[in-house]
């Protein structure tokens, strides 16, 4: 059990890691275009947090959303096809990397206006409470969104109305090329931001998937029992550049910093824990590597062989046609 449980966490992180490594390759081959923001290094946050959810709970995130979408259970084929802009993509190729949506799995989307999706998260939580349901909403966002006015307006509303929204700040210490200490006045204590709204808040090691899941499980239980917002600062780090347009370490951070952070790799960490506790063998990991490799290759094949949407799709989905309503 314990073993299966840990393996499945590792498996999800590995899927995200390999999926994104492959999507980077596909970007280089121009199979994928636009902005592609990789989550590599931050997998423990999405996987740990979403592992604490029920399938009917909501998740929503910013544009760095592949990890959250896959962790919520979306089909890698459909996700890769979306990145390829194909008709078989999650969003028929209309959304792209920054706007993955899987409504059926309650992944309510990736959004590309920094701070803009926090009010949406409050609204999903409002709907839950309005219906007297007991779902929770996980809202992921980067620390760069903390200074944004929309973020604060969302916090105040969620706190004022006790909405079951759990705000997870993925603090990877950079907003593009700007280090956190030049983004946020009180950058050392960002949980104070939430507390100034009376929102309970805590930090968690975002490189430790078990710690993330444990804390989020706890918090989800509390929030289900008595609806209210919660704030978590997940301390993490992005191993790659801001997007494919940005080198892995621009002059805004040193190669050494990136190298030393890579030692905190969430996959390595869980792997070591498991080996130490004999929860898995090297053979297990080798098998996982092969399985995931197959899944990712298949996703690429699926995406590649899928057709592009036809021209008639251009004007579809702008409005719900009356007869649908």
């Amino acid at each position: 059990m314990e073993r299966e449980d840990l393996l499945s966490l590792y498996r999800q992180m590995l899927l995200i890691r390999r999926f994104e490594e492959k999507s980077a390759e596909m970007y280089a081959l121009a199979k994928i275009a636009g902005f592609l923001h990789l989550y590599i290094g931050e997998e423990a946050v999405a996987v740990g947090a979403i592992a604490a959810l029920r399938p009917d709970d909501y998740a929503i995130s910013a544009y760095r959303d592949h990890g959250h979408c896959l962790a919520k259970g979306s089909d890698p084929n459909a996700v890769m096809a979306e990145l390829f802009g194909k008709a078989t993509g999650l969003c028929k190729g209309k959304g792209g990397s920054m706007h993955l949506v899987d409504a059926e799995r309650r992944f309510m989307g990736g959004y590309a206006i920094v701070g803009g999706h926090l009010p949406l998260a409050a609204g999903l939580a409002f709907a839950v409470k309005y219906r007297k349901s007991d779902q929770v909403v996980l809202c992921f966002f980067g620390e760069g969104a903390l200074p944004s006015g929309q973020t604060h307006e969302a916090f105040n509303l969620a706190a004022l109305w006790k909405l079951p929204a759990i705000f997870i700040c993925e603090n990877n210490r950079y907003a593009m090329g700007t280090p956190v200490k030049r983004e946020i006045a009180l950058y050392g204590e960002i949980t104070e931001t939430a507390r100034s709204y009376g929102i309970e808040a805590e930090e968690v090691d975002g490189m430790d998937v078990l710690a993330v899941r444990a804390r989020v499980r706890d918090i989800v239980a509390k929030v289900r029992a008595s609806p209210r917002p919660y704030f978590i600062e997940a301390r993490t780090y992005r191993f790659m550049g801001h997007s494919m347009a940005d080198p892995a370490h621009g002059h805004y951070r040193t190669k050494d910093e990136v190298e030393s952070e890579r030692k905190r790799d969430p996959l390595l960490r869980l792997r070591q824990t498991m080996l130490e506790h004999n929860a898995a063998t090297e053979a297990d990991f080798d098998r996982l590597d092969r399985d995931i490799g197959v899944i990712v290759d298949q996703a690429v094949r699926f995406a590649d062989e899928s057709p592009f949407p036809g021209p008639d799709e251009l004007h579809q989905d702008v409005f719900v046609e009356e007869d649908e309503s």
């Binding site: 909501y58 993509g89 999650l90 969003c91 028929k92 190729g93 209309k94 959304g95 706007h99 949506v101 899987d102 409504a103 059926e104 309510m108 989307g109 959004y111 206006i113 803009g116 999706h117 926090l118 009010p119 949406l120 998260a121 409050a122 609204g123 999903l124 939580a125 409002f126 709907a127 839950v128 309005y130 006015g149 929309q150 604060h152 307006e153 969302a154 105040n156 509303l157 004022l160 109305w161 579809q316 989905d317 702008v318 409005f319 719900v320 009356e322 649908e324 309503s325």
Partner: protein, 326 residues
């Protein structure tokens, strides 16, 4: 029965909130204060604070919250105390409400009505006196409605609330008090249908919201000079009912558009273009527009009066254009 535009809106929302409990009202002072302009009188008493929500002064926040609620299947009615403050919610309206359905490939829709007064009242100054319908009409994924009469207001608001898409519903502080015959019960008026408010043969005047009355007053005065103007109210600004306007122009050969907003890049320019394309060979002269002046709204009354179209300016424009054409 006779009732005010304000009461008509109140009835429309009341009918729909009784009919469908997913519908709720959210905005500043819409509850215990009954709405800044008393449009939601009696709502918190009838529907309770769970469905009639007073918000802090956070237009982006509560509009975004309402959009999120709509994504989860509720039907919010957002009251903007005035559309001037809607500028603060523009990102939510344009980048989320209008686009989520398309970006998600049709997975998620956003059934929401965002309503409140647009345009100038009396001497509220530059930051509180503007008409931004052209902005909203420019954005794909939004429907835009601006009714001029109590009857249209009720029927169109009910249609807007039942519409599964985001609808911008623009009222006017100076219209809330006007009275008119209003139908009984929960009737609907189709979105996207203009109405000929006055029959005429000599020219077509297009006017909406507050400007409809200005146009009708001008038409009456012109009639005394023997000029019969046909007055068409699009009622829905987007999708625009070009057909009805063009049909009128084919009859009259002349088109005058009256709009309160700033002239440059105002909605009238699009109406002029759409109709010119549809009825070019029938136009005996260029389309003429009477618009708000291209200045921030001055506070002082004499200047404010000059900045906003009135029937005198419409009459002058009509005489000029008909002479030019004859």
């Amino acid at each position: 029965m006779m009732m005010s535009y304000r009461e008509a809106l109140n009835q429309a929302m009341r009918e729909e909130m009784r009919r469908n409990e997913r519908v709720f009202l959210i905005g500043e002072d819409v509850g215990y204060y009954q709405g800044a302009f008393k449009v939601s009188k009696g709502f918190v008493e009838e529907f309770g604070p769970e469905r009639v929500l007073d918000t802090p002064i956070t237009e982006a926040g509560f509009t975004g919250l309402a959009i999120g609620a709509a994504m989860a299947g509720l039907h919010p009615i957002v009251e903007l105390m005035t559309f001037n403050f809607g500028i603060l919610a523009m990102d939510q309206i344009v980048n989320n409400a209008a686009k989520i359905r398309y970006m998600s490939g049709g997975q998620i829709s956003v059934p929401i009505v965002i309503r409140g007064p647009g345009s100038a009242a009396h001497q509220l100054g530059a930051q509180h006196s503007q008409s931004l319908e052209a902005w909203f009409c420019h954005v794909p994924g939004l429907k835009v409605i601006a009714p001029a009469t109590p009857h249209d207001a009720k029927g169109l608001l009910i249609s807007a609330i039942r519409d599964p898409n985001p609808v911008i519903f623009i009222e006017a502080q100076l219209l809330y008090g006007i009275k008119g015959e209003v139908g009984e019960g929960a009737y609907t008026i189709p979105i996207g249908k203009a109405e000929v408010k006055r029959q005429g043969t000599d020219l077509t005047i297009v006017a909406y919201s507050k400007m409809l009355q200005v146009a009708l007053d001008a038409a009456d005065a012109l009639a005394r000079e023997g000029i019969e103007a046909e007055v068409v109210d699009p009622r829905t600004l987007k999708p625009l009912d070009v057909e009805t306007i063009a049909a009128s122009v084919q009859k009259t050969g002349h088109l005058l558009i009256v709009e309160e907003g700033w002239g440059f890049a105002g909605l009238g320019a699009q109406i002029a273009h759409s109709v010119s394309r549809a009825a070019f060979d029938y136009l005996d002269g260029p389309v003429v527009r009477v618009t708000g002046e291209n200045v921030p709204m001055p506070y002082t009354r004499p200047l404010e009066d000059l900045a906003i179209p009135d029937s005198a300016r419409v009459i002058k424009a009509v005489n000029r254009m008909l002479n030019r054409a004859s």
